[in-house]
């Protein structure tokens, strides 16, 4: 939870997330301009710091078609999965209250020394909304606030919600004024990182705030409404209640005081704003104001402010890690932070006793007791972790899944797996979470059924099944690609090429083929999983062959898989890649027994390689009829050789002329000789006697 421990910055913009990889300064490595889609000319030497986001660096850009247009480019962090689905949806049409997106694409960015996603936006002439706080105090009355900020932002949110998108990036430093007069406010970008990844904990609900940045998930409209509520307060009051507090302290304070009390503190708000902020910052998702309630409020209907519901408190507190706790939520929060100590507390039975006697919650006490007894009856040394994860779910049903250092919403499992694999380089904990079926406990402890639960359950099961299998095209790698459409192929060979679509795979391999080590293969577990996930044609047979211990079958599996991709998606010729693969065909040529056929193939392969066609190369080497003929011919030759060898062994054994057979032949010869001799003598005798 290192990131959770980081100090919340003074600015409402909040926790600065980790910097993108190898982001050297523009002056050091910039030089040539970067061209996106042959239209947008980006200048790496001209960063626009005031428009940058934690994982999206802004740069000046010129549209070659319309040089007068005012645009800027946002270069995304290639180590994070972008929100590709949202990118596709936003490209289709303009959302009125969203920073207008003009284009997006993938291009080589010299400072990252690899390709990455670049999004082109219209330039907001009025700058960031958060910059108001740093300038001369601009005071609003509540009417200005409602008219200039709340109403347009609400309308924007409503329109975005109608498209089925959640923004998960609503905060003042990601809101812009499109005009220089600062009259038109819009939400900023929401695609450069996983949902809510860059959100300071202040702008996130308690549950979302507990999560790792990558574990917050797509969320729902209710999450955006909460963020909007905090943003309204920040813009109006220009106050940051998180000043000097760590992320954990902010979450604990929100749990203890309630979000409204923590955010507003002692600031004196006008009554209408109290009303809407109490509605928007309600900690219960079911009670929080929805779009209809906000619309009614904007229409002038004044409602009595929502009062926070108090959490049930125990008659006597439970002591854990030298602290006293009176509510389930507080205790579960503390237990999730002090994991080892919490396992002891649960296995000693103190939690279910406290629930039964202190809180008088028989249902929860029974659930914890049952889980504890089942765990104690198993010999699994890691059962304590599973038990604690389940107990935490029972104690705080609304909280995210917590497993050791992992805290995540179920719908974020893809992002978490991707970030832990790509950025943190260690997906073992996520794999453990999936393989130990923690999600099953999460599904079992849900109070209300919803389609999202069923969907998450299915997703978890699929991922677990992929991870349990070690064949090529499956395993952890497959789970990553299946759960993240925005993760580019992570094969070390082509990771710098940022391959998002199957159509880009062969061009990327072609690009690296000329410089690749010829002794290596243009294939690995990541490429296999990427193809298995993104390629809609069944290549299971080829993929299974790749894992074959026989080198010729494995090589043909690789060639067959890539040939299928070329056949379906092109390009027509990949010269370097075909040469690379052609040079690896030794085992395949060697799998033919007939030496003449081998020589013929050795002559033929260079000719096909010059055509750049993997399909032709595959067909050349995988001629079933010729392979059959080779096999039958070889078997016949083998039998012939063996027969000759057997005869030779006999001939060279020294028994020839001396054995029974020879003797028999000798006797036969003797009989014939005698008979012939007798016949001749008798004939002569008879003839001489008669005449």
């Amino acid at each position: 939870m290192a990131e959770e421990q980081q100090q919340v910055t003074e600015e409402a913009g909040g926790d600065s997330p980790p910097a993108p990889p190898q982001a050297s300064s523009p002056s050091s490595s910039s030089g040539a301009k970067v061209l996106l889609k042959n239209r947008f000319e980006l200048d790496p030497a001209k960063p626009l710091a005031h428009l940058s986001q934690p994982n999206g660096q802004a740069y000046a850009v010129i549209d070659k078609r319309d040089k007068e247009s005012k645009l800027f480019a946002m270069v995304c962090n290639p180590e994070l999965p972008q929100r590709l689905r949202v990118l596709h949806m936003l490209k289709g049409g303009k959302a009125p209250a969203l920073l207008p997106m003009v284009e997006w694409g993938v291009a080589y960015w010299p400072m990252f020394k690899r390709k990455t996603v670049i999004v082109i936006y219209e330039l907001p002439l009025g700058g960031k909304v958060s910059e108001l706080g740093g300038r001369a105090k601009e005071s609003f009355n509540e009417q200005d606030m409602i008219r200039n900020y709340i109403t347009p932002l609400f309308e924007g949110l409503k329109e975005i919600n109608a498209r089925g998108i959640t923004l998960r990036s609503i905060r003042p430093d990601n809101m812009y004024f499109m005009d220089a007069e600062k009259t038109k406010i819009v939400f900023g970008e929401c695609v450069s990182s996983p949902p809510a990844y860059d959100q300071p904990v202040l702008y996130e609900t308690i549950e979302s705030g507990m999560c790792l940045p990558e574990g917050r998930g797509e969320g729902t409209l209710m999450h955006d409404i909460y963020s909007l509520g905090v943003s309204i307060f920040s813009i109006y009051a220009k106050k940051d209640p998180t000043k000097g507090k760590t992320v954990d302290q902010v979450v604990d304070a929100k749990i203890e005081q309630g979000s409204y009390a923590f955010v507003v503190q002692d600031y004196r708000l006008p009554l209408p704003l109290v009303e809407i902020l109490r509605g928007l910052l309600c900690d219960d998702d079911d009670e929080r104001w929805d779009l209809e309630a906000i619309e009614l409020w904007l229409g002038g209907r004044r409602l009595s402010p929502l009062q926070p519901k108090a959490e049930p408190k125990s008659k006597r507190n439970i002591i854990f890690c030298e602290e006293e706790y009176s509510t389930c939520r507080q205790l579960s929060r503390a237990m999730s932070v002090h994991w080892r100590e919490a396992i002891e507390l649960v296995t000693e039975g103190k939690v279910d006793i406290w629930l039964r006697r202190g809180l008088e919650d028989k249902e929860k006490a029974d659930a914890v007791e049952l889980a504890r007894k089942i765990t104690l009856s198993t010999a699994d040394p890691k059962a304590g972790d599973t038990l604690l994860a389940k107990v935490l779910m029972v104690l705080d049903n609304r909280a995210p899944i917590r497993y050791k250092e992992l805290v995540l919403m179920p719908d974020s499992i893809g992002s978490v797996l991707a970030v832990h694999t790509i950025k943190k380089g260690d997906p073992r904990l996520v794999a453990e979470l999936l393989l130990r079926e923690i999600f099953k406990s999460w599904v079992d402890t849900r109070i209300k059924y919803s389609s999202e639960i069923s969907q998450s359950d299915t997703e978890f099961r699929d991922m677990r099944n992929y991870m349990r299998q070690t064949l090529m095209g499956l395993g952890l790698e497959r789970a990553i690609y299946e759960s993240n459409e925005a993760v580019p192929c992570q094969s070390p060979l082509i990771v710098s090429e940022y391959v998002l679509e199957i159509t880009e795979l062969l061009p990327a391999l072609e690009a690296v083929a000329s410089t690749a080590d010829p002794k290596s293969w243009p294939f690995d577990r990541h490429i296999a999983a990427f193809i298995a996930c993104r390629f809609k044609t069944n290549v299971d047979d080829h993929m299974n062959a790749v894992g074959d211990p026989g080198p010729s079958k494995a090589v043909m599996g690789v060639l067959g898989t890539l040939a299928m991709v070329q056949w379906r998606h092109g390009p027509e010729a990949v010269f370097d890649l075909t040469a690379w693969l052609g040079a690896s065909m030794g085992p395949v040529v060697g799998s033919y027994h007939n030496r003449e056929k081998r020589r013929e193939l050795e002559k033929e392969i260079p000719r096909v390689v010059r055509k750049g066609s993997l399909v032709e190369l595959y067909n050349l080497l995988n001629n079933e009829q010729e392979r059959y003929q080779d096999m039958t011919g070889f078997n016949e030759a083998k039998a012939e050789y063996k027969a000759a060898q057997d005869e030779l062994d006999y001939l060279e054994s020294g028994r020839v002329g001396r054995d029974e057979q020879a003797e028999e032949l000798g006797h036969q010869t003797a009989s014939v000789t005698s008979a012939t001799l007798a016949l001749v003598v008798l004939v002569i005798m008879i003839v001489t006697r008669i005449w």
Binding site: P587, G590, G633, E640, L651, V656, E663, G666, A670, T673
Partner: protein, 174 residues
């Protein structure tokens, strides 16, 4: 009501029939033999006595194929034939036959020719063995040449010996 014959009964009847037939055949042979012996008495006396070494060879024969009596018999016949011809061409009487049988010289001839038969019988196999050995050497070189051709066409693995049977062709990185 007539009983049907069982297969066993049918077989027994058949075997009784066949043994009866064989008995008749044997008797017919014996009768024919006696008639021949009586009609050709002088000839048969000389033949039976003269071919005595052949009968011995026949009875002492151990090999399954029974070749020795052919070798000995053929040569023995060469020795007996002049005396039978004497009977037929000069005097075919029992007395003449007995005179021949009781003379020493015919016995010398008969046993000498039979001995020659034995000599051929025992002497031929080593000679044949030498020829076979020479033929085997020639056959071995033909077979080796054939094996070499197979290895050239199919590789060393055709011999069932995988050692040295590399994959051939281009190797990765070549």
């Amino acid at each position: 009501m007539a009983k049907k014959e069982t297969p066993k009964q049918t077989n027994q009847a058949a075997s009784v029939k066949s043994s009866g037939k064989a008995g008749v055949n044997n008797w017919a042979l014996i009768v024919i033999g006696v008639i021949i012996f009586v009609v050709f008495f002088p000839t048969m006396v000389v033949f039976c006595v003269g071919m005595f070494p052949t009968f011995i060879a026949f009875f002492i024969e151990r090999s399954k194929k029974g070749m020795v009596w052919i070798s000995v018999g053929c040569m023995n016949l060469v020795g007996v034939t002049p005396y039978i011809m004497d009977l037929w061409l000069i005097s075919n009487t029992p007395q003449q036959a007995l005179d021949t049988v009781f003379s020493v010289f015919p016995w010398l001839v008969w046993y000498s020719t039979a001995g020659l038969g034995w000599l051929i019988y025992l002497g031929t196999p080593p000679v044949v063995g030498i020829f076979l050995t020479l033929a085997a050497a020639s056959r071995a070189s033909t077979l080796k040449a054939s094996q070499r051709r197979l290895v050239e066409k199919w590789g060393q693995e055709v011999s069932g010996n995988q050692e040295g049977a590399g994959p051939g062709g281009m190797m990765r990185g070549e």
